[in-house]
């Protein structure tokens, strides 16, 4: 093969999807962790604040994780958008009529709306960081230690209907995104086998549902009980 002055592996259609898959799976690990962390809220105000305080006091380790996360988000979003635009150009003349041929196709509302759910999640992320990570700083004292009172901020945010139901809606979209995204990542990495493919697909659906439920539980609980 004629050698290129730079490595083109991740500029090929196959390579781009490998980047999408690796960054995507990394983000899945992150959201699972985030969802589980949120559940501390249901344990109590102090437990929740102490949990977030522990995370915040990780210092340099936290920064490292945040940088990798940011990179994963940026690459995932950038490649996702560029792939979608390219794919549109691969069929300039549209069909008058095109429909799904049915099974074994895995084309679903989830798989065909990845770009839209993805873009909404991207906008959500910015708003979300602004409201919480860079939101109002309340402080509290738990067991003699001064720390950020995120519990109070949560209660404040999720007492307004717009914020609560907007959040709930976006989390349901996250579920849709992952329903296709999870198994698709494995397929993009070549990790598919007749024995496991059905299992991976089902696991993806399961993770999508659990995540969506886990994420909407706390805001709804706050909205209706606090």
């Amino acid at each position: 093969m004629a050698s290129k002055p730079y490595d083109t592996t991740f500029l090929t259609t196959v390579g781009k999807k490998i980047v999408m898959a690796i960054t995507g799976l990394f983000l899945v690990i992150f959201v699972v962790e985030h969802m589980l962390g949120n559940l501390f809220f249901l344990v109590g105000a102090d437990a929740y604040n102490e949990y977030s305080h522990k995370l915040l006091s990780l210092g340099p380790l936290l920064w490292a994780i945040e940088i990798v996360l940011l990179a994963a988000f940026v690459f995932h979003a950038f490649y996702g958008i560029s792939i979608t635009l390219y794919n549109k150009s691969a069929r300039p003349e549209k069909y008058k009529q095109l429909r799904s041929a049915g099974k074994p196709s895995r084309k679903t509302i989830s798989s065909t709306t990845m770009i839209y759910t993805g873009l909404i999640l991207l906008i959500f992320l910015v708003i979300h960081l602004k409201s919480f990570k860079y939101g109002t700083y309340y402080s509290t004292v738990v067991n003699g230690v001064e720390m950020r009172d995120l519990h109070r901020l949560m209660v404040e945010k999720f007492s307004t209907p717009l914020y609560t139901f907007g959040y709930v809606a976006v989390m349901i979209l996250l579920g849709f995104h992952l329903r296709h995204g999870f198994w698709s990542a494995f397929q993009s990495l070549g990790a598919n086998h007749p024995r496991y493919s059905a299992g991976i697909y089902t696991l993806g659906v399961f993770i999508a549902i659990i995540l969506a439920i886990g994420f909407v539980a706390v805001p709804l609980w706050i909205y209706f009980t606090q």
């Binding site: 794919n87 003349e93 993009s188 598919n192």
Partner: protein
């Protein structure tokens, strides 16, 4: 079953550079035993008799083995009948009075030549980049002198069944050729003769697939559902493994 009268909506396009449109036709006396292409033959005979320009469509073997026939019938490449090429689709699957829409396979790398015939030579250029082995395989006894397990032979045959029709591209929302290229790379991965050139084959065929302008595979799996040979998307996963093996040296 008695003969049918059908309404057809067919894409007509003079040549690659002219705009096309859907044109309505009525075809009478269609026997349910006819194949879809024979039904179009009947229509073309009528058009020719009336002094019109017959509808151009691709076909060759009419036995489901050559990969020349195409057509998107009622929104599905090769029609609603699973595991069936257009030439093997019979009119008994339609009802008297049905309206059937017929469009060409659509993708930037498959430009329309005329009406329903598209230029699929992009596939040939991909094959020319590595869809072969560069040795003289000799005659049949030589081939039998290398033992190959039943499993490997079966998997290689499953992939080699691809007839290169391009329905996978036509059905893909992204016009990706991943299933075709996946099958053509996969078929060699199980056989000793395919091993020496495996890395070069994967990289070069994928490079050519991209150069032709096919889209990225988003794993919708619509390709497998329309493939007349039931080529599985496991072959796409295998292509990606071959690519990773070749890229990480």
């Amino acid at each position: 079953m008695k003969n049918m009268t059908l309404k057809l909506l067919i894409w007509r396009q003079k040549d690659a550079n002219s705009p096309g449109e859907m044109v309505p036709y009525t075809v009478e006396n269609v026997s349910p035993h006819m194949s879809f292409l024979e039904m179009l033959d009947v229509l073309n005979e009528k058009i020719i008799k009336e002094g019109g320009d017959p509808i151009e469509f691709d076909n060759d073997c009419r036995e489901g083995i050559c990969g020349m026939c195409s057509l998107v019938i009622n929104g599905i490449p090769h029609g609603t009948q699973h595991r069936t090429a257009t030439c093997q689709l019979h009119m008994r699957h339609f009802k008297d009075g049905d309206t059937i829409t017929i469009e060409p396979f659509r993708a930037k790398p498959f430009p329309v030549i005329k009406d329903l015939a598209v230029d699929r030579s992009a596939f040939d250029r991909i094959i020319a980049k590595g869809g072969y082995i560069s040795v003289n395989t000799g005659s049949a006894p030589d081939a039998n002198s290398i033992p190959i397990s039943k499993e490997a032979a079966d998997l290689a045959m499953d992939a080699a069944e691809c007839i290169g029709c391009g329905a996978c591209v036509a059905a893909c929302p992204n016009a990706s050729a991943a299933l075709f290229v996946g099958a053509k790379i996969s078929q060699y991965t199980f056989l000793p003769q395919g091993k020496p050139e495996a890395k070069r084959r994967a990289l070069r065929m994928i490079e050519q697939m991209d150069a032709e302008g096919f889209g990225n595979c988003s794993n919708h799996g619509e390709c497998e559902a329309v493939c007349p040979k039931e080529i599985s998307i496991l072959n796409i996963a295998r292509m990606r493994r071959e690519f990773l093996k070749a890229a990480i040296r």
